[in-house]
């Protein structure tokens, strides 16, 4: 615990159309909970912190769960900055949500910092009977954008950890990406810590 704050912080964004199951995936992953009834739309942006070790190296993940609803688009430029990875989520039982992905990729590619890792996730794979998007279609879309792909079910927990582990793995393979953000983080701390330094002395 003590060394928590010294761990490298990775910022990962979850985006996708409203109702795709971003929040459900996040809550399942972080808190291992799943609520069958409630489906409140996320307002603006919510976030969670989670520690994760990949190949023996620990990271702190700052997971931003963004609102899918169109009206929150004005906010988007404020959370893309400094993001190492973007998880794009669609609902395999909704053709519309899959069709919208092209646009979400576009948004992510134009806003995120160069080299940020994209990861496509098809959610609600427990609804196989109601499936509207084939696994292969998702895979092909991901390939087109040079991103990984998997399907998950927050309800049955299937594959829930997979996208997070893989995206962290991909990010960690790209030292430049890490360095770019650390430089950013550096400038942040300069601004903020100078004050704390002063406060520290006085105590």
């Amino acid at each position: 615990m003590a060394s928590d704050e010294s761990l490298p912080m990775l910022k990962i964004l979850m985006i996708g159309p409203s109702g795709a199951g971003k929040s459900a995936l996040l809550i399942r992953y972080c808190d291992d909970q799943f609520d069958t009834e409630s489906s409140t739309a996320t307002i603006g942006v919510d976030f969670k912190l989670k520690k994760l070790s990949v190949h023996g190296k620990a990271y702190r993940l700052n997971l931003l769960d963004t609102a899918g609803q169109e009206r929150f688009r004005t906010l988007s430029n404020s959370y893309y900055r400094g993001a190492h990875g973007v998880i794009l989520v669609y609902d395999i039982s909704s053709r519309d949500s899959f069709n919208a992905m092209e646009r979400w990729f576009e948004e992510a590619e134009s806003n995120a910092m160069p080299g940020a890792v994209m990861y496509l996730v098809g959610s609600k794979m427990d609804r196989a009977t109601n499936r509207k998007v084939k696994y292969e279609e998702g895979e092909a879309l991901a390939r087109n954008h040079g991103s990984r792909f998997c399907e998950v079910s927050s309800k049955t927990k299937e594959n829930v950890r997979k996208p997070f582990i893989e995206i962290v793995d991909l990010i960690s393979q790209n030292p430049e990406l890490l360095a770019a953000s650390n430089k950013r983080a550096g400038t942040v701390t300069v601004g903020e810590s100078e004050g704390s330094f002063g406060s520290g002395c006085a105590c």
Binding site: I43, V45, D46, F47, L49, F72, Y79, V188
Partner: protein
């Protein structure tokens, strides 16, 4: 709709029901989030506008239009009369573009925006966490109150009834003018609820563990958008400040250190930039942890406003749990504004200290300010020249009680010397003769052609030296002030700087140094009066970048003394104190030529000037007192002048006499100071 506005229930009745996420319907929460997004967008635009070459003051709009019309096929078809003007505009524009494309400017812009965006992100995620809270506590709440937990129960008809009549009368003209409201349906809510929202937002931004200038400006925008008058915000700031400090007092430092030690999160938490803030916020909201006294106290205060203890604690995050963090917010328990800092700089600047204006007047340096005098904001007044020692403080008595007011005492002796010399010159016969001559030529001609009346130049030696000395001291003091601010002598609170004459020079240097060191978000508003500093747009753009709120240049075209004194400095860059600042968006120019007949008037006009520019908190009573003083003074001077006119003297002799007088006066103050020092020495010995 208003069960929570009753006082009784708020703090104790149901622990779990008071929370922003349950107080507001989901639509309202959406609106709140969007409002904040929109406002921060506006604020960001203001920052980038500062660096926009196409924005100029003056008569540009029509010409700008001409240019765009003309661009495709230039010169031929347009009437000739326009061309010269146009060419000028284009030249000016090119000059601005060149100025703005300089690497230093681009860097400054980038850094200013970067700082802003980091802050914006932290605010947006803070709001997000609070507003989306049900997801995190959903299981707990469900057990207890599964049916009334639904946020959608608030009946909508309520709001529509009150809608039409409340809004307009609550609007605060000045506020709306300065911070144009962003349209939101939230302003249709009943007034109590809007007030509650504003409060909640105040607590929420405080939950970021600082109250930087950007946060304060955001709140002003919110107040304006919710059609609430400014005093609601300021009153609450005062209340919250007091409650926080009061409550923090009860938290023993030892206990806290122990607790923190157990958590393995020692003081470090509030050292780590955004990540730390985010983490702390999360813990504060989800944990609630040791349900501290602070939250209880805040809850009691805010109870009447619809926020219970738990809600307040949730909004405040770690601030509600930690006396240490509260302390750092207020500048480490209040001692530092007056204490240690001074010693640290004593070597560099002979005389530099902050004097608190409120509270017991004979408080000794370094003693803690009592909690009732503490505020969430700090205002520092800086005098430019002095005729008596009290002048350090007197002009700033006009500042109101909503902010913690300090007067900066710097280089007392140099300023006294300057003050006496100035007074002597202005009262001299040479000056009254010279003034007529200057008026005939206009001030700018005199400045640029260096055509000053000979009589005046003869007495100039009396003031020139003290002025240069004081000016170079001012430059140093400015750097020290910047240092003090960067080291958070004021705590994590926004600072407003008000200064006249060489005091304004101090602020100018301070802001330039802040810009150079990229210390954004420290300074809320700045009022510079009669500033002996360049009026060049490059300079003011840099200054603007570190001021989040208003940057106001108060000038008078009748300020011959300033022009005269400044003549030996680099006048090619203009003088801010006698002309307006051009082409920088976000710098307000206020012409007080009518009120100000000369540089020596400013000291007595601080109140009236602040009133004129719509400064938010001033003490009206003190302003009228000040006005009386000025009237008296004017009368007296007139009499003296009359006497002098008959005496007609030789300028050389007069100069000599003046020098003697000034020397005499400075000696007197020096003596005074020396004796004072000795007395202080005695006192400390006695103690």
């Amino acid at each position: 709709m208003t069960p929570w506005s009753g006082k009784g229930e708020s703090a104790h009745a149901h622990e779990h029901e008071q929370d922003l996420s349950t107080l507001l319907t989901s639509d309202e929460r959406v609106d709140l989030t969007l409002l904040i997004a929109a406002i921060t967008e506006v604020m960001q635009k203001q920052i980038s506008d500062t660096f926009d070459a196409s924005i100029t003051t003056g008569k540009v709009p029509s010409q700008a239009l001409n240019i765009t019309d003309k661009n495709p096929n230039v010169k031929d078809e347009k009437p000739h009369e326009e061309t010269e003007d146009e060419a000028n505009t284009r030249k000016m524009r090119e000059k601005r573009e060149k100025e703005l494309s300089a690497p230093s400017m681009l860097d400054l812009k980038k850094d200013a925006l970067e700082f802003f965006q980091i802050w914006q992100e932290s605010v947006v995620s803070r709001v997000g966490t609070v507003v989306n809270k049900p997801k995190e506590v959903i299981e707990e709440q469900k057990e207890k109150a599964s049916d009334n937990n639904s946020p959608d129960i608030a009946p909508p008809p309520d709001k529509k009834v009150i809608q039409s009549n409340t809004n307009t009368e609550n609007a605060d003209a000045a506020l709306i003018d300065l911070y144009p409201p962003t349209s939101t349906s939230l302003c249709n809510l009943p007034r109590e609820k809007r007030e509650m929202l504003l409060n909640a937002m105040l607590l929420l931004v405080l939950g970021l563990e600082h109250y930087i200038a950007h946060s304060r400006i955001l709140l002003l925008h919110i107040a304006s958008s919710l059609h609430l008058p400014l005093h609601i915000l300021t009153e609450n700031e005062v209340k919250v400040a007091q409650t926080l400090l009061e409550a923090a007092k009860h938290m023993s430092g030892d206990e806290e250190t122990k607790k923190r030690g157990e958590e393995n999160q020692t003081a470090r938490r509030w050292k780590v930039g955004l990540a730390g803030v985010a983490g702390a916020a999360l813990i504060g909201v989800t944990g609630g942890l040791a349900a501290p006294l602070v939250a209880g106290a805040i809850g009691t205060v805010m109870g009447g406003l619809g926020l219970g203890a738990t809600a307040a604690a949730g909004l405040l995050g770690t601030l509600a749990e930690s006396g240490v963090i509260v302390g750092s917010l207020f500048g480490a328990y209040g001692g530092r504004m007056t204490g240690k800092m001074v010693d640290a700089y004593a070597k560099e600047v002979a005389d530099f200290s902050f004097l608190p204006l409120r509270g017991s007047s004979n408080r000794i340096h370094g003693k803690k300010a009592p909690a009732e005098d503490r505020r969430l904001r700090v205002t520092i007044g800086i005098s430019g020249w002095l005729t008596q020692r009290e002048d350090i403080i007197t002009p700033w008595r006009v500042l109101g009680h909503q902010s913690e007011v300090f007067a900066l005492r710097w280089e007392l002796e140099a300023l006294m010397k300057l003050g006496s010399s100035l007074e002597a010159v202005v009262k001299s016969a040479a000056w009254s003769v010279a003034k007529k001559e200057i008026i005939a030529r206009t001030i700018f001609a005199s400045l640029l052609d260096a055509l000053w009346p000979i009589a005046l130049l003869k007495v100039s030696k009396v003031v020139d030296n003290p002025f240069s000395v004081a000016k170079s001291r001012a430059d140093k003091a400015g750097l020290v002030l910047a240092d003090a601010l960067i080291n958070k002598a004021q705590g994590e609170r926004p600072v407003t700087l008000i200064a006249y004459s060489l005091g304004a020079r101090v602020v100018y240097q301070c802001l330039m140094s802040l810009a150079e060191r990229r210390a954004f978000g420290l300074v809320e508003s700045v009022v510079l009066i009669g500033t002996p500093a360049p009026s060049d747009s490059t300079v003011w753009r840099a200054m603007r970048s570190v001021v989040s709120g208003r940057l106001i240049n108060v000038y008078s075209e009748n300020d011959y003394i300033l022009a005269f004194l400044y003549r030996t400095s680099s006048i090619q860059y203009g003088v801010a104190g006698i002309q307006e600042i051009q082409d920088v968006k976000g710098v307000e120019n206020v012409d007080v030529s009518e009120m100000v007949s000369g540089h020596l008037r400013y000291q007595y006009l601080v109140g009236s000037i602040l009133e004129k520019i719509g400064f938010e908190d001033i003490d009206v009573e003190e302003v009228s007192k000040e006005e009386e003083t000025l009237a008296l003074l004017e009368e007296q001077e007139e009499k003296e002048q009359e006497k002098k006119v008959h005496e007609e003297t030789d300028p050389d002799k007069e100069a000599a006499k003046m020098q003697k007088d000034v020397q005499h006066k400075t000696d007197a103050t020096f003596l005074e100071r020396a004796t004072e020092k000795m007395q202080i020495g005695k006192k400390t010995v006695n103690v």
